[in-house]
């Protein structure tokens, strides 16, 4: 038996994924409307989700935010959802962090990320992969600061 390392050439790789029920997002829009939108999504995300697949786009972006939260692997950290933003470079989704989460990503040594979104009629999903360099004095992640894998 072996412990499979979570590092490649000294770079830690973080991953997160999530799936969201489209009906849940429809329900939230019906129940809370703009309050739900403003609490969860940025103006850019709202603007990018228009037309026939609007709800699917929002659901995929929510899944992306949850995937990013999981990639941090710090369950007791505050996660203001609007600090995680999905933008676009043409058809390609990109991840942008701001505020406290941008700072935390810097502490964890995030170097680059890759985001993928998808949806079907009933569900939307997202996967994020993050490549990290050495962590920089992250008080929430003593293991990362030590540069060792595992908890």
């Amino acid at each position: 038996m072996i412990n499979v390392p979570d590092e490649v050439d000294g770079h830690r790789v973080r991953v997160g994924c999530d799936v969201v029920d489209i009906e849940d997002v429809q329900g939230s829009l019906a129940a809370f409307g703009d309050r739900y939108l403003r609490k969860v999504f940025t103006a850019t995300e709202i603007s990018d989700c228009q037309g026939r697949n609007r709800v699917h786009g929002l659901a995929a972006r929510f899944a992306a935010k949850e995937a990013v939260i999981k990639a941090f692997a710090a369950p007791d950290m505050p996660f203001p959802l609007r600090e995680i933003e999905v933008t676009r470079d043409g058809p390609l989704p990109l991840l942008r962090l701001s505020g406290s989460l941008a700072e935390r990503a810097q502490h964890q040594g995030w170097l680059s990320s890759s985001l993928s979104l998808s949806h079907a009629d009933c569900h939307a999903m997202a996967v994020v992969v993050v490549v990290c360099g050495p962590a920089v004095d992250d008080p929430m992640c003593a293991v990362d600061s030590a540069g060792a894998g595992g908890r």
Partner: protein, 81 residues
């Protein structure tokens, strides 16, 4: 307060069990509360208690149990008073 929280969870938590019948320390995520549903629960609790959840309490642990939710709301209500 816990009754109000349980009613909100029943209305918006989309849980596998009736939250009015679970222990206040029971793990709500294990009982079916999803991350997305916790957003609805948060918005409904803001309406119910006339509060706003600040960024610093938007943690998984805040919505992990009825007890945890009550603690956070008590603190927010006191701050608002």
């Amino acid at each position: 307060m816990q009754d109000q929280i349980r009613d909100v969870l029943a209305a918006h938590g989309r849980m596998a069990v009736d939250p009015r019948e679970v222990d206040d320390q029971a793990d709500l995520y294990k009982l079916g509360l999803t991350s997305h549903a916790s957003v609805d629960v948060m918005l409904a609790l803001e309406d119910e208690f006339d509060i706003e959840f600040p960024d610093e309490v938007l943690k998984k642990s805040t919505f992990e149990s009825v007890h945890n939710i009550a603690q956070v709301i008590e603190s927010l209500v006191k701050s608002a008073a």
